[in-house]
Amino acid sequence: MEIDKPPKLAAIAAGVASLWPLHAKYLAKSFTDYGREDLDLLETLADKITQIMGDDSDRYYKSYRWMCEIFNKEAFYFKKFKKYRIRSFEEAEKEVYSNRAFMTKYMEGLLVSQLLWKNHSSSFLFFKKKFLRGVQSDFRYLEIGPGHGLYIAAAAAQEGCVRAVGWDVSVESLRQTAHALARLGVLNKVVLDRQDLHAPTPHQQLDHVFDKVAVCEVLEHLEQPREALIALRRYLAPGALLYVNVPINSPAPDHIYLLRTEKEVRSLFFEAGLTIVDFVMAPLTGYSLDQAIAADLTVNCLILARDTHG
């Protein structure tokens, strides 16, 4: 028997369906298989998204539809040519990151997708239930590419979080994150910095400081994800837990590094000197894991890891 959807989650799904009736069939599959506990956690996510959207929910829903149509075109290219359309950070910068109007709509769409796409909502549940749960004492949190702000806001609000820091290379992305955190009332609990992991940093004082580090849907945007993971290790405190969410076979207008299999993802971590302690695969909405793998469709790899040498 299907469990009733909680009200804010249901309102967002209904709002999108109202604006985009043809998407209703997809939305009907967005929350299947979730039990009461998961739906209650997703209701907290829906609450945050509702707060960030404020009175502009229709604009966010339109941006979501626009983004889905863009993704569909990228998926078409991927099916046809078996590769991502763009291959370099320079191309992504030119087409996406430097285009403020595009970025704004893109990030608004992504915000809504955090609830409506099962591979995204699974990531939030994993983050809350496995990464943040069970914190015994004070912890320091670093997030690379905080984007929509939902994860860093959840970490900053968690009991025991004494420091929350977010880094991104994109000024526009940081602006959007700050906007979201302000709407959620936690901007004063977070430090946002423009920071490239590969650049020489003035952050030596942050070496081996962070107990929890999150990198959600970032590696696929990089030309050298292995080097990024290696660079990240210097910020991990002894015994620190790293959460990485990286999708395989996930075409998008700014995805450049194609990982095709679980094995490739595991190799990336091994080569970067990280030991995986948990690995969950979250397929896209409406598909089982086996179906998604067989058809080379998007599956998000949700990974907890520690520094092998830390």
């Binding site: 075109k73 998926a75 078409f76």
Partner: protein
Amino acid sequence: MEALLQFEELQLLMADVFCCDPAVITPDATPDSVAAWDSLRLLDLVLAIEQQAGIEISPDRLQDMMSVPAILAIINEGEHA
């Protein structure tokens, strides 16, 4: 001008891609009437159409392919690469 693809040919292609009985693919079928018709399987269908009809369909047309009549119109409109 002769149509590049007739309904009956499209019907068989769709039944194959969507793994359903051809009878489900009626002349006015939409995603609402075909359970497996979603945005990703539509991409498989478009690739199958391209191969069978020897045409190339612009990704910009994907969002318009939301019924059998719309798909036939796009296939047979004669503006393909």
